[in-house]
Symmetry: C2
């Protein structure tokens, strides 16, 4: 049987013709079918784990809703969760955590991002419409803008810095005369440095100052945060002198 094998005359398969002049081994390698290695499945597995809820070991109670998660995953992604779940309650290992002041949908969006890097809630059709729509910035995309702000509240609290930057950039795109004052007040309250800078710059360079002034009072910016207006003046002067 083995003898028959040794007398075989090998004719290179057609696809290795180009390599026929090279060594036999190279030709053989070229002739091998390339069953490609699929791309990383890590993110799919994290998504599946989040969707299935398999092995969850902590429950967040948010506005009456119970949301289950894996403490090590949320701790990995947020220094605040890490402190809350491993350091402050290291002994008790509480299985249920009450979350106040965050909307359930915003907390869900935060969890989804934590597991999957999914930030699509910031780029829904409505958000896109708001970004490209009416320049007053308070049109049909207001619901999405509000949703992003809700997430920013949660993200600021739990210190998920990259998602915070993503949200700030989305809100920056949606800035308009109609919402910039409110947005500046929001940025102040929730430590959004990028959004705050964008708002101040927007106001400082605005060519519709008359319309803008009307909204500044609504946002109570003048009465509660007068120092910001000095910054706006400084920026206006800087841009004027460029």
């Amino acid at each position: 049987m083995l003898v028959e094998c040794t007398v075989t005359v090998v004719v290179p398969p057609p696809e290795s013709a180009a390599a026929a002049g090279e060594s036999g081994r190279a030709a053989q390698l070229a002739a091998q079918p390339t069953a490609a290695v699929p791309p990383s499945d890590m993110m799919d597995q994290l998504r599946d784990m989040y969707a299935s809820g398999h092995g969850t070991d902590v429950t967040f109670s948010v506005g009456g809703e119970l949301l289950r998660a894996h403490r090590i995953i949320v701790a990995m992604r947020s220094p605040v969760f890490r402190a809350e779940l491993y350091e402050e309650m290291a002994e008790s290992r509480a299985h249920r955590v009450e979350v106040h002041g965050v909307r359930p949908d915003a907390f869900k969006a935060l969890l989804r991002y934590i597991y999957t890097d999914d930030d699509t809630f910031t780029t829904s059709p409505a958000a896109a419409a708001a970004a490209s729509g009416g320049e007053d910035g308070d049109g049909g995309g207001e619901a999405t803008t509000t949703a992003i702000q809700d997430v920013l509240v949660a993200v600021d609290r739990y210190g998920v810095e990259r998602l915070k930057l993503i949200c700030e950039h989305r809100l920056r795109e949606a800035l308009g005369v109609g919402n910039v004052a409110r947005m500046l007040a929001f940025a102040e309250d929730h430590h959004c440095a990028v959004l705050r800078e964008a708002c101040i710059r927007f106001i400082a360079t605005c060519d519709r100052m008359g319309d803008l002034v009307a909204t500044l009072g609504d946002a109570q910016l003048v009465s509660t945060r007068p120092l910001i207006l000095i910054e706006v003046l400084e920026k206006s002067h800087k841009f004027r002198s460029v």
Copy 2:
């Protein structure tokens, strides 16, 4: 103060000159500094978690070494770990698991991949040398080839399919007359379909059958797995008739 603000004449900053003809808002947006959102930090955080060992809740005892891990992460990446850590011992929740028949270094490489998708152990300089080196395929890269085989043993046992494919592809690149028989026996033992197919194809199309036959006996392929030779014969015939 507010009045001073409204009489400001806005000169567009230089960088928005191109957009000056468009609406004021577009110009303002263009003028805003673009603090880019950094790329995903998920993999860095997984790597840090693995490196720090923070919050680990299971210890694998492998060849006398104790390796700590997070049960949810290894379960997420391997159906076998999932069964072992959540299903079979759901009640006991054993914190220490004995692993037999896997080398510590191979188990470490498996863990590193599980946390980080890191497969660089398969592409070390030695492995590259083996792939491009002497066509007998048993030169200086043998240590790396052996290391990859050790990982394949672990990977086959724990069902980490993508890493299995990566290892099989690396070994396929290192195939030579000197090692193909041993590699085929290994592929049979550890359910490596891609590597097995590559070995059979290599033998079937080999133009150095005399050298090859000498190694077939060493690998005990003929005595222990005679059916493979029939497959090799079939493939030889197929390639000849193309």
